[in-house]
């Protein structure tokens, strides 16, 4: 069955085969919250190296890669069903691209798709402020604030693909891209 795609269709279809691939395995050592920070720091360290010729460019690249990776991996760790988290990342045509794949349950999937529906017709900056006001009067988590920050403050391009798998499980693949500073160290 074809996956249901939200956001940029072309981004969802792009191949990241020549990038770097990491798998976080939910094994006997358990996958914990702190691993999202460790993994995103690692990706930022590796990917920002090519910008080390300019301090400003390096700081910007390192931060943007780290922030984007951290938000996506935090979401994968937080909302996943037991199983692997597959991460692909690379620099392509002046942008950092990252794709994170994990499985989620049906309830998470429909809640998330509702949020993405709302996103399609609205300005992310406005939606971000609205969501912040809503969060201030409730304690509910999983508000999509991270994604709204990426779209609004980081000008990220994003795509989400939902694909039904066996049972109630759904494979969620999130792809995101942010522009990088000019490379000083090709």
């Amino acid at each position: 069955m074809r996956p249901t795609v939200y956001g940029s269709e072309s981004l969802a279809g792009i191949s990241l085969d020549s990038g770097t691939r990491l798998t976080l395995t939910d094994g006997p050592l358990q996958l914990g919250w702190k691993h999202s920070g460790m993994t995103s720091d690692f990706i930022a360290e590796v990917m920002a190296l090519r910008y080390s010729g300019s301090k400003k460019g390096y700081v910007q690249a390192h931060h943007d890669i780290g922030y984007l990776s951290n938000e996506l991996i935090e979401n994968a760790v937080k909302f996943r069903q037991p199983g692997e988290i597959l991460i692909e990342a690379g620099i392509f045509d002046g942008s950092f691209l990252i794709r994170v794949q994990n499985t989620i349950d049906g309830v998470t999937s429909s809640r998330f798709q509702q949020l993405l529906h709302r996103l399609q017709s609205r300005d992310p900056g406005e939606l971000l402020l609205e969501q912040i006001e809503t969060n201030a009067i409730s304690t509910a988590s999983g508000s999509g604030l991270g994604l709204l920050t990426l779209l609004s403050d980081y000008d990220a391009k994003m795509a989400w693909a939902f694909e039904e798998s066996e049972g109630e499980r759904i494979i969620l693949t999130t792809t995101a891209a942010v522009a990088m500073p000019p490379s000083s160290n090709p």
């Binding site: 919250w33 999202s36 920070g37 700081v59 910007q60 931060h63 943007d64 780290g66 922030y67 951290n70 938000e71 935090e74 937080k78 971000l128 402020l129 912040i132 006001e133 969060n135 201030a136 304690t139 988590s141 508000s143 604030l145 991270g146 920050t149 609004s152 403050d153 980081y154």
Partner: protein, 112 residues
């Protein structure tokens, strides 16, 4: 008054709250003690409260939500001036702190 772990430290000195390090806590529940600490300070009757973020290297989106909630709390208190000191040294601050000003136009945002 101080809350810290191996990655971050937050503490208050009179009417100024300092944030230092990398904040990557898991959500509103994990940020709740910090929220309580600072809300307490906001209600102590100061004319001005300053959030000093110049040492705040990294903040995840749940942390940004914390700052936003505190800004809204300060907004509710009409006679309190909230000053937010930030730095261009850490790129997230120039990107995300202006949102606080949109939430609370009287907030004094100082990005150096």
């Amino acid at each position: 008054m101080e809350i810290s772990d191996e990655n971050f430290r937050v503490w208050a000195e009179q009417n100024e709250v300092y944030f230092d390090g990398v904040f990557r806590l898991a959500g509103p529940d994990a940020y709740a003690p910090i929220y309580s600490l600072i809300t307490g300070l906001l209600h102590e009757g100061h004319k001005q409260v300053t959030f000093n973020l110049t040492g705040l290297e990294f903040l995840n989106s749940s942390g940004i939500n914390l700052l936003a909630k505190l800004t809204i709390e300060a907004r509710k208190m009409g006679d309190l001036l909230l000053v937010v000191k930030g730095t261009h040294q850490y790129p997230w601050q120039a990107k995300s702190l202006p949102n606080l000003k949109k939430l609370h136009p009287l907030l004094d945002l100082r990005l150096a």
